[in-house]
């Protein structure tokens, strides 16, 4: 039987789809404009188009799986288009959503704006119940009080109720009892409880997370139902898998319970795609670098595993300001924003220097060279002027670039700064690269690594344009650019494993860990995860169960994660765990702490399949090795324009070796090598530039 897997990613502009033949690894690609009012429509279009294309080779009814990622949750939070939500808190605590942490995210801005809580004060209710910090019950739930509360909730017009009780991470019996009570009395009302969504210490963050989950739950539920119906209509009976921010996928049923975990699925897919390409060539330490028109992001991957963050900020008021959004305690691939992309505006700063970003021309009016009314120079204008982008073949020739408009925009900045147009154009390019390199350098330092040990993997429309120059600034020895296929996140979805994250948040000094109790709790979580993973299509025999043990010295606030197999969670392993922690700590911080007392603050169980590393093959006319043309390109090491080779990517066969400076063009992007370096085309048609 022929098997095909399909991935569909809804992005801001396009909905992308990729189908892969499981035996031959051949892929098919489809694309449609995103349909914001009814996102499922574009998904249907893309799936229908893929099925049509494949039919000749694989016949009907062969789809074994559909993996899906969507920006639905992100958009609902940014645009505040969720359901009317009520919330129930412990007595005396309904204002914690508004008191927040009392911090300002910008020390010097007197006029800062904070995001409003997702649940307004008149929709926030209190219940006189209480658990102690150690999970002991202090005051039980009174059913009569709860009954009265239901009337208020009815009157509030809420479609969904969030429950966030103090110390629920230690004992969620009250949250469960209240959820059951509401479900029994009001079957039409959707319910979400904080410990079920994020069993983590810190009430403001946990309660914000549960309100966000509740807020998007009705929307995601009806969306996923409609999508399943649509797939049915197309005679696709394969199960629908949903991508999570963690870089794993789950069943649509579980996704509908905790939709907040879908938040960053698209970017996570991008990282997995970069990683998948890197693993093909056995590069284990990579910097996944993605740059588009309005954003640039980076993720550090070490030993083949993407960094994982345990919290994420959604709906920031200021994109680049930490603390200006809603803190959500979800497991997500650790991507940082390092810039505003090709649309970043260049200007003379108050200090008389040439500064770039964070303000952006966005997609409207966009860079000056788009000819849509932009007059201020952007990074894209500079890239165009320097010969890194071609005016006639930009976006596959669909958008001719205006050279005069670019010159005028860069020229007026150049005049103000007393520079030539060439100098200013290279200045813009170089400053934005330095900004991105600096942000990356600090991010890598925070993780205790050296950039020189990494391979940069470039994705996105502008990523390959800037990747080589950034890698040189960071001292990274090589840059890999996988065949883009025009659907980056989808390839990542297809390489993603099924994955479940669960947490046991409990603090014990290492010498006093109640091993039997911890192990029993983790085993129970493991069993639950096993069932969920199998229902998500994983093979039970292949499953991996690991525990991220979060540790710190008593008295510290930051913890360090040490990964061990679930089977090693036992008293006899305590000494080895101590050694692992000290080794890890010393790598991060240069030394361990003499006489420090280590403690465990959380046990985070991860159940997953092995990473589905996969080669993707695309039919290509890869027979010519010659250059298509030459053009003037700015060599950033000579500091002058040179005549450089221009190659068309789809004509470069495996084994081709080229010398920079050069550019390699394809429909979605341009790979730029702005100085002397060796460039090889690898057997899967990835391009590798060797810099050092």
């Amino acid at each position: 039987m022929t098997d095909v897997r399909i991935a569909v990613d809804i992005g801001g502009t396009f909905t992308d789809g990729v189908a892969v033949h499981v035996e031959t690894n051949q892929i098919w690609v489809a694309k449609s404009l995103t349909t914001p009012d009814d996102p499922g429509e574009a998904v249907s279009t893309v799936v229908a188009s893929l099925v049509g294309e494949m039919r000749a080779e694989v016949g009907d009814g062969a789809v074994s799986e559909v993996v899906h990622g969507t920006t639905l949750v992100t958009n609902a939070l940014i645009e505040r288009k969720g359901a009317p939500t009520a919330a129930i808190f412990t007595k005396g605590m309904r204002d914690i959503l508004e008191i927040r942490r009392e911090l300002r995210y910008d020390l010097y801005d007197l006029h800062f704006t904070l995001p409003d809580p997702l649940v307004a004060r008149n929709m926030r209710f209190e219940l006189d119940e209480r658990m102690a910090a150690d999970g002991t019950q202090i005051r039980p739930v009174d059913p009569a009080e709860l009954e009265g509360l239901l009337d208020h909730i009815d009157a509030s017009g809420a479609q969904v109720v969030a429950i966030g009780f103090l110390n629920a991470h230690a004992n969620d019996a009250h949250e469960r009892a209240v959820a059951d009570f509401i479900t029994a009395r009001r079957p039409g009302l959707s319910v979400s409880s904080s410990a079920a969504v994020a069993p983590e210490l810190r009430e403001y963050e946990r309660c914000t997370t549960v309100t966000a989950n509740a807020y998007v739950k009705p929307l995601v539920y009806s969306y996923l139902n409609a999508l399943e119906r649509r797939l049915d209509d197309q005679a696709i009976t394969a199960p629908l898998r949903i991508m999570l921010s963690s870089g794993g996928f789950t069943t649509s049923k579980l996704a509908a319970e905790t939709p907040i975990q879908l938040l960053e699925s698209g970017p996570a897919g991008g990282v997995l795609s970069a990683l998948n390409a890197a693993l093909t060539h056995d590069f284990q330490n990579i910097l996944a670098f993605d740059m588009g028109g309005t954003t640039a992001k980076a993720c550090v991957v070490t030993d083949g595993e993407p960094g994982i963050a345990r919290s994420f900020e959604a709906g920031r008021v200021h994109r680049f300001k930490r603390g200006s959004g809603l803190p959500l305690l979800i497991t997500s691939i650790d991507l940082i924003e390092i810039g505003a992309g090709g649309g970043s505006l260049a200007a003379m700063s108050a200090l008389g220097t040439l500064s770039v970003g964070p303000a952006s021309a966005g997609s409207v009016p966009g860079p000056a060279c788009y000819g849509r009314g932009g007059i201020q120079a952007t990074v894209t204008d500079a890239d165009f002027w320097l010969g890194y982008l071609d005016g006639s073949s930009f976006l596959g020739g669909t958008m001719p670039l205006d050279r005069t408009a670019a010159e005028t925009a860069i020229g007026s900045l150049a005049d103000a700064l007393g520079m030539s147009v060439d100098e200013a154009a290279f200045g813009i390019h170089d400053v934005v690269n330095e900004n991105m390199a600096s942000a990356t350098r600090i991010h890598i330092a925070e993780k205790g690594y050296d950039p020189r040990d990494f391979t940069l993997v470039a994705t996105g429309g502008a990523g390959p344009v800037h990747a080589v120059a950034i890698a040189r600034k960071l001292g990274m020895p090589r840059v890999l650019c996988a065949p883009a296929a025009g659907a980056g996140s989808c390839l990542g979805f297809l390489a993603a494993p099924a994955r479940i994250d669960k947490a046991l948040v409990q603090t014990d000094e290492l010498k006093a860990v109640p091993w039997t109790q911890i192990r029993a709790a983790l085993d129970a979580m493991g069993e639950e995860a096993r069932e969920e993973l199998v229902s998500a299509g994983a093979c039970a025999a292949d499953l991996i169960f690991e525990v991220d043990v979060e540790m710190q010295y008593v008295g510290q606030g930051n913890s360090v994660s040490v990964k061990i197999p679930l089977d090693d969670v036992r008293a006899a392993y305590s000494g080895a765990l101590f050694a692992l922690f000290e080794e890890h700590y010393a790598r991060l911080y240069g030394r361990s702490v003499p006489h420090g007392r280590p403690q465990v603050v959380a046990w985070r169980m991860i159940g997953r399949e092995p990473i589905r590393h996969q080669r993707f093959l695309r039919e290509a006319d890869a027979t010519h090795h010659g250059r298509a043309a030459t053009r003037r390109l700015y060599d950033c090491e000579r500091g002058a324009f040179v005549e450089a080779g221009v190659y068309r990517r789809d004509t470069l066969g495996a084994g081709t070796v080229l010398q920079g400076p050069l550019v390699i063009e394809e429909a979605e992007s341009t790979f730029v090598v702005p100085f002397e370096a060796t460039v090889r085309v690898l057997d899967d048609l990835s391009i590798l530039a060797e810099l050092f």
């Binding site: 204002d95 009392e102 911090l103 700063s349 220097t353 040439l354 400053v431 925070e446 606030g557």
Partner: protein, 515 residues
């Protein structure tokens, strides 16, 4: 080299320098035991040129450290001239007058050499987990009660620890493992910064001192241009808070002339024999902080940024006290400087200032024994934000410091207390065209099995935060023990089962109340 640099190269090298300092700061924060360093960014790492002038400061530092480390370095150089320094040396002091205004802030300076030539200094300051002495309280009467004072001393000699300094420090603090751990964290940050600077120079050929002078000049010009945008003149404002008997008065007079701005605090209270005195470096730092918020938030901190600003206060006043005045609760007075400066400018640039917030910062420190073990816990609370000409103030926001609350669940896990309520005080923000932010109520019950010692920073129980330009004042705060008003200024002993209620003040309103 500087003269040949174009505007892009300057930007790139400037970004690199700030990024070096931030990278060193990352090392300091992540290894620190002090939760106030980690969570409240109560630290700074800076790069100084060979004359000890500030070239770059870490991005996240709190206001109290603006421009203090260059002054500290000069005090150290007065005792240990640069000619006597060698690579691998490190120097330490926590003297309030030479450092940042109170003893817990430990300052460390290291010279940076390249090929045997002295090119600059790396410097750091961080709030230590403990510095000995009594627990912090405004009621303290002499500096000697506040802990161990280290005059400028050599800490490392060519990389070798000076045992006497380490031993004395270790013997005089409560949680010595953590204090010594943080000391090493600072040393790592300083060393890393020096190493990274040398690498940058090796890689780029940068003339660090000439470049430093260039960016200082650029910052100076940017600040001067911002000052010129304020109408010239003399502006004054007076702010009061509860004191010990007499109110504490901060009287501020600003003169704007010829692109320069001077701040003088004549007419402010005399120094007091309580721990609310503010040494000149802290007076300077908080004045510069307020002016930077108003004038030029995006100009990076360096020596040039504040050359056009001068700050003075009469000798022997609460803003320029004589040794050995106690200073541990300096924030209770220092936090009044931004509202004083903003009040002075409210008439001429009303849309760039905000009304007085429910500051100074509140804190509550509880120590005792429970179940046979000692415990100590400190947490912060904030009042409402002052309103501006365009917007209501937010409830419960830290200003001018940036110290957040402790989550209730963390508090209850670490101290024998139960929090009964944390809520907004409806209507406590001052009325006006725009309302001040509300204060908060935090109520907790002592669960310890024996009496506990409590101390507070809690002010504006009598004198509220004033409104601006016709706005009304916010509501005053209150501290209650079992429902009865309680004096938070002295250290007290309270009992198991007692209930403490802390109600922080509301922020001032802005503009007249609409009819």
């Amino acid at each position: 080299m500087t003269t040949e640099m174009n505007a892009a190269t300057v930007e790139i090298l400037w970004t690199r320098l700030v990024s070096l300092v931030d990278e060193a700061a990352t090392t300091l924060v992540r290894t620190s035991f002090s939760h106030i360093v980690r969570e409240a960014h109560d630290y700074a790492v800076v790069l100084l040129d060979r004359e000890a002038r500030l070239v770059a400061q870490s991005t996240q530092s709190i206001p109290s450290f603006i421009c203090t480390l260059p002054a500290t370095a000069r005090h150290i150089l007065a005792k240990y001239p640069v000619e006597t320094m060698q690579p691998g040396d490190a120097y330490i002091t926590n003297d309030p007058w030479m450092g940042t205004g109170h003893l817990p802030d430990i300052n460390i300076i290291m010279p940076i050499f390249r090929d045997g030539e002295h090119i600059g200094f790396s410097a750091s300051v961080a709030h230590a987990p403990d510095i000995g002495g009594r627990i912090r309280s405004p009621g303290i009467r002499e500096l000697y009660e506040e802990g161990l004072r280290l005059p400028p001393l050599r800490l490392l000699k060519a990389g070798t620890p000076e045992d006497a300094v380490f031993t004395i420090l270790e013997a005089n603090v409560r949680v010595s493992e953590q204090v010594m751990g943080d000391l090493y964290a600072q040393l790592s940050a300083n060393e890393m910064l020096g190493r990274r600077l040398v690498e940058l120079i090796d890689g780029t050929g940068l003339d660090f001192n000439a470049f430093g002078a260039d960016i200082q000049r650029r910052s100076e010009q940017a600040m001067a241009a911002a000052i010129r945008a304020i109408p010239e003149g003399v502006y004054s404002h007076r702010v009061e808070v509860d004191g010990f008997g007499e109110p504490v008065v901060v009287n501020c007079t600003l003169e704007v002339r010829d692109g320069r701005l001077s701040v003088d605090y004549s007419g402010s209270s005399e120094q007091v024999d309580r721990a609310i005195n503010v040494v000149p470096t802290y007076t300077y730092a908080y004045s510069c902080y307020a002016l930077k918020c108003i004038l030029s938030p995006s100009v990076p901190n360096n020596e040039g940024s504040f050359r056009a600003i001068s700050v003075s206060a009469p000798d022997g006043s609460i803003l320029n006290p004589r040794f050995p005045a106690p200073v541990g609760a300096r924030a209770m007075t220092g936090h009044l400087l931004p509202p004083a400066i903003m009040g002075a400018l409210a008439k001429v640039i009303p849309d760039r200032v905000q009304a007085a917030p429910g500051s100074p910062l509140w804190s509550c420190h509880i120590t005792g024994r429970h179940a046979g073990k000692p415990f100590a816990f400190l947490f912060f609370l904030n009042g409402g934000q002052g309103a501006t000409a365009a917007k209501d103030g937010y409830p419960a926001v830290s200003f001018p410091s940036n110290l957040g609350n402790t989550p209730i669940e963390v508090l209850e896990a670490q101290a024998p207390v139960r929090v009964i309520e944390r809520s907004l005080r409806d209507g406590s923000g001052g009325a006006g065209s725009f309302r001040g932010g509300d204060g908060q109520t935090t109520e907790l019950k002592i669960l310890a099995d024996s009496p506990v010692t409590v101390s507070f920073m809690a002010n504006r129980l009598e004198i509220p935060a004033a409104g601006l330009n016709g706005g009304e004042p916010g509501a005053p705060g209150a501290v209650l023990l079992n429902g009865t008003p309680f004096d938070p200024r002295e250290i007290s002993v309270i009992h198991p089962g007692d209930v403490l209620t802390l109600k922080t003040p509301g922020g001032g309103g802005f503009g007249p109340v609409p009819n």
